[in-house]
């Protein structure tokens, strides 16, 4: 059940592209080595992903539309539509 719930949460965070920032492992109190391993690995993973992208939104409370424009399609789509309308 827990696996399923965490999978559900990962998928939902995936909507915002944050799915890799949630990790689930079973570690017994006798498995100190495994605990260290899992935490170190996950820390490394988070470090390689970089800082939380949500922080950028928190700093600028009033979001500026230009900053929010999707990186891949900046302007192209809009220009095309303008042309097709004209």
């Amino acid at each position: 059940m827990t696996v399923k719930r965490i999978t559900f949460l990962q998928e939902l965070l995936g909507l915002l592209g944050l799915e890799e920032r949630l990790h689930l492992s079973w570690i017994s109190s006798a498995e100190a080595q495994k605990f260290v391993q899992v935490v170190s690995d996950f820390t490394e993973k988070i470090r390689s992903l970089g800082p939380n992208p949500l922080l950028a939104f928190r700093e600028s409370k009033i979001a500026v539309a230009a900053e929010l424009m999707p990186l891949n399609s900046k302007g192209d789509d809009y220009d095309q539509q303008r042309q097709s309308m004209a």
Partner: protein, 273 residues
């Protein structure tokens, strides 16, 4: 239909009947009773829809044994099913009259306020999320783009709680969205995206895709799409069809049922005798 409702009220099959009544050219939800039988003549069926089952839930809260009749579209039926499963209404106390339904992915023709969804404008298409997208189409955006697009939608939110208040399957006495230790309350803008994500998580196993939240939203946030995504994940992960399943939700707070049979304990043997 009107004769049917009158007969139900007269025969005592139902104590009250929830439908729509035309008042000053507005079709408003109305509770028809035996005492005011003449009002039943004003019963109308149109594209207008409200969560009648939510009114039924509130009535049942006051009087658990009241017998309620109501008009039901497909979305009402699904909501009722969920409310029965969550023990908010008793199936034997609710009678429904089926009316024509919205032309969702399930049906092509019907009478519903969702009949003609508004088309997204150029700007919204460019930086936000088009309300009319299919759930699968969301995945075509890249990770960063997806975040930006959803955050653009969420930052419009004015925290009116309209989505929660209209939701037929929101019945909690205490709402996490108004819990100061979880989410900041008061006259502030909501914390994003946590406000919407909390609601999204709570819609798991409950949302029946009626689209009333989106219709109620003054800021045009694609909530139906968001909760549609949630329902899809629930289907994929838990193999649970919200609304049509007769099984209890996997998110039931009581968890899985224990299959062990209850047995009396062995009588304790008195030592000192």
């Amino acid at each position: 239909m009107i004769n049917n409702v009158k007969a139900w009220l007269e025969d005592g099959i139902v104590d009250v009947f929830l439908g729509y009544r035309e008042m000053d050219h507005h079709h408003l939800p109305h509770c028809f009773t035996r005492e005011h039988m003449e009002e039943v003549d004003d019963l109308v069926i149109s594209q207008v829809r409200y969560p009648l089952e939510k009114i039924a839930t509130h009535m049942t809260e006051m009087d658990p044994d009241i017998k309620i009749g109501m008009l039901a579209r497909d979305c009402n039926d699904r909501a009722l099913n969920v409310l029965f499963l969550w023990n908010q209404l008793k199936a034997e106390n609710v009678s429904t009259l089926t009316v024509n339904c919205c032309p969702s992915r399930l049906k092509e023709h019907g009478d519903c306020s969702y009949l003609t969804p508004e088309k997204a404008g150029v700007f919204k298409k460019q930086v936000g999320v088009d309300n009319n997208l299919e759930v699968e189409e969301l995945d075509t955006y890249g990770r960063k783009e997806r975040l930006n697009r959803w955050m653009y939608e969420f930052q419009k939110c004015i925290k009116c709680y309209g989505c929660r208040n209209i939701c037929p399957v929101c019945f909690c006495k205490e709402c996490s969205l108004e819990h100061d230790e979880l989410i900041k309350t008061g006259p502030l803008l909501p914390e994003i995206p946590i406000f919407h994500m909390v609601r999204a998580v709570h819609m798991a196993g409950r949302c029946i895709d009626c689209g009333l939240c989106e219709a109620a939203c003054p800021m045009d946030i694609p909530l139906r799409l968001l909760y549609g995504k949630v329902s899809q994940i629930v289907k994929d992960v838990f193999d649970y069809d919200t609304g049509s399943s007769a099984l209890e939700s996997p998110f039931n707070i009581l968890g899985d049922k224990v299959a062990l049979e209850p047995k009396p304990m062995e009588p304790a043997i008195a030592v000192n005798e």
